[in-house]
């Protein structure tokens, strides 16, 4: 369970690097090949996936699913901090509904 929790936080951090790396990409191939932000983003994604595989092979999915979805909340905070994206009512409503839905889903999966 701790593995999955750590994995979801790491995964949301990975998304930050993917986003900042995505803006460095241009027509020249070196902008992808030597893009350390993209590499770090993919790397952290891979690390979080390994943790998921480890965590999910032992734990119960109904408990683990809601933990994974915490990464959506983390992303709202990271996006505000690093990309100055406003935390709007639309985003809070959307992510709130998604979290609630995932909790219902996991209750139904017991």
């Amino acid at each position: 369970m701790v593995l999955v929790l750590v994995g979801s936080v790491i995964g949301s951090v990975g998304a930050i690097f993917l986003k900042s790396g995505a803006h460095q990409v241009n027509r020249h191939w070196t902008s992808i090949a030597f893009n350390w932000r993209l590499a770090l983003g993919v790397g952290t994604y891979l690390a979080s996936s390994v943790l998921f595989v480890k965590g999910m092979s032992n734990g119960e999915l109904s408990v683990l699913f809601p933990l994974v979805s915490l990464s959506y909340v983390c992303t709202l905070v990271w996006s505000r901090l690093f990309f100055h994206e406003a935390i709007t009512k639309v985003k809070l409503t959307g992510v709130g509904l998604i979290l609630a839905g995932i909790i219902f889903l996991s209750l139904g999966s017991r």
């Binding site: 803006h23 994206e85 406003a86 998604i98």
Partner: protein
Amino acid sequence: MLTPATPAPGVHVPDPAKRKLAIFIVLACTLLVAVGQYLIKLGANRLSHAGLVATMIGIFTIPQLFAGYCLYGVFTVLFVYALRHGELSILYPLIALGYVWVTITAVVAFHETMNPFKIVGLLVIISGVAVLGIGGGAGAE
């Protein structure tokens, strides 16, 4: 935290058509991820007592795990493209639509039972994704 934020220096503000395209790409990507997740879960069952190194080797030697991660690779490329044209805080939560595909697959293909909790959960997730997708596409505050 609720105050309107100005765009960061160096981060360009995308045009509305591309913002909508980005949202569409991510929504389509969730189908890929759903298939990938299913394959990874299949493969993970064969690794229940493996260590970290064995898990890494398993990603390349267990066909289901390998195929699952390849789909994740395709997803990552498309996701990075989408991120150029949209806000991370809109696009990232859209990935939750994958839960809907996974649940439908489980019920249709593997005869898992559907129950009221699951139905409510699916509808609430879909409405959350719709709020983000429509609101984000319109650029609404």
